[in-house]
Symmetry: C2
Subunit: 318 residues, 2 copies
């Protein structure tokens, strides 16, 4: 699958968690590794038990390395839970699921961070060890935690997402410190050199907006052809709270709402067959549409969708 049957094209993909990781994995299957850079959200990074945890980076890395738990889409396959059971016996919190193998990575990342290594260099090292060939870049080496504003008060992202299972009604978001942050080394260069930028089917509010909030990234992206894949199908998200967030923010959730959300950035938008009637709503935004099966049930679906996205992108470029 690594020999593309289309002309060379340099692609930058922006990705968040599980859905983004799956499309990124598909892109890695159909593009030569030197032509793919994946820029990953770090807004949901947090400290827990003194460890520095990067959920989206890890989901993307585990997925591309073939190590991810295929059932959950996050964490490691064949995982054990000895440490967390010991924590539980001592009365500690177990709401964030930390498997034993996964913890090995958190420990080593934390050790390298405390010794002064920037996150981007640590990710590069882990990718080498895990045999991941496309380049994976954190959006920034700075710490820019996403806060979720809700009618029950503001809370760090993982508190909202995992501990409270997205139950509080959302009123807004804050990417703390993002306005003072810098893109990680290589991020802007990769975007400027990209023939095509792909927005993976990730949550617009808390996966891709954090990336676009880092100074310089949005304008760089805006200067390139961008194709997005809708994370909303038939008014619902395949996984995660994006649909719920649109509703709570007063916007009926739909693929069209996602296209509106990215106003001024998109050249093309890939939507599901179920949403084909939305084409007439999206095209007036000046966005070309491509209708296909967007749900990725199998690894083969990822490659098929990725190839369609790239073909669509090539068609837009030319």
């Amino acid at each position: 699958m690594n020999q593309p049957d289309f002309q060379p094209i340099k692609v930058v993909a922006l990705a968040g968690g599980v859905g983004g990781a799956r499309l990124a994995d598909g892109l890695a299957k159909v593009l030569p590794p030197e032509d793919l850079t994946i820029i990953v959200n770090t807004g949901d990074d947090f400290e827990h038990f003194g460890l520095f945890i990067c959920p989206d980076i890890d989901t993307v890395c585990y997925t591309l390395a073939g190590l991810v738990n295929p059932v959950t889409g996050w964490g490691r396959r064949d995982e054990t839970w000895t440490v967390l059971e010991a924590v539980s016996l001592l009365g500690g919190p177990t709401w964030f699921h930390l498997g034993d193998q996964d913890l090995g990575l958190h420990l080593e990342r934390t050790r390298r961070r405390l010794s002064g290594q920037p996150l981007s260099r640590i990710v590069q090292h882990f990718c080498q060890v895990l045999g991941i060939r496309p380049r994976i870049l954190p959006m920034t080496d700075d710490f820019t935690p996403t806060w979720v504003y809700t009618i029950q008060g503001e809370m760090p992202f993982q508190e909202y997402f995992v501990r409270r299972q997205c139950q509080p009604v959302v009123t807004g978001f804050c990417f703390q410190g993002a306005d003072q942050a810098s893109p990680a080394p290589g991020v802007l260069e990769a975007i400027h050199q990209a023939d095509l930028v792909v927005f993976c089917p990730s949550n617009p509010w808390v996966s891709l907006d954090p990336i676009l909030s880092i100074p310089g990234i949005r304008s760089a992206v805006a200067s390139r052809p961008v194709v997005a894949v809708s994370p909303i199908i038939g008014g619902q998200t395949v996984k995660g709270p994006a649909g719920k967030m649109f509703t709570e923010l007063g916007i009926p959730p739909s693929a069209a709402a996602v296209a509106h959300h990215y106003t001024g950035l998109l050249s093309g938008f890939v939507i599901d067959q179920m949403d084909s009637e939305l084409v007439s709503e999206i095209q007036p935004l000046g966005v070309q549409t491509f209708v296909t099966d967007v749900i990725m049930k199998t690894p083969l679906d990822r490659a098929r969708l990725s190839k369609e996205v790239i073909d669509f992108g090539i068609q837009i470029i030319h």
Copy 2:
């Protein structure tokens, strides 16, 4: 074994690692829990992978809880090593052996420390959960790391002790920040209320000296009857580098050298049968001696030796 066949006596034991933990366990077997306080060295505490690790506290707690690895004397029995294997695959350091169950405790201790709890309260909580009834107190809630001066430069204790396996030749020690530290809550009160203070067979230089270096502890101890158990038998240590340290510091290692080391503190000294000829060397120091089998091969040995130590102490007091 919990019903003493001697009159009630309040005992404070000072302990370091494996040897100290074993005598402390014996004392716990022959004294009512309300009459025993164990004050433990925290000079070899250190941060590793961002986690706060207290090797001596853990060895004492695991031993008294019956959870300790009986072969090594430290760490957990029936331990697994999944996390450290994952760290190793990522190129991280594995010189400090962190088992999975053990890591659960380090994680929860770190979490509580970062949330502002003092070490003494964390230890109290762990003892409750682990069913440990005698009181275990860290010598201080402050961080007073032991540094080892060697002919190859100065290094933190665990660097010397574990990573470099005690190979560098020692020239001295520093208990960093100890002069500004305070005894943990309850430490001075327990010593002042003690009928007898027991120095467990721990390393004088790096296990008990750190405890005695905390302002107020040495003078409190000096005001009470003290019985020490020699960690040196036949010129050698049962476990650990105490003998090697005496030699490198220019002092022939022997039970008598240990008695000299504690000049001004000891009322009685328990030595091994192998060292019975040293009685004539120790008694001129004004220290009474008791000769017995000091090596604790089995849990029964611990109780037997503890009972002898207490009987000897009672004899000295009266």
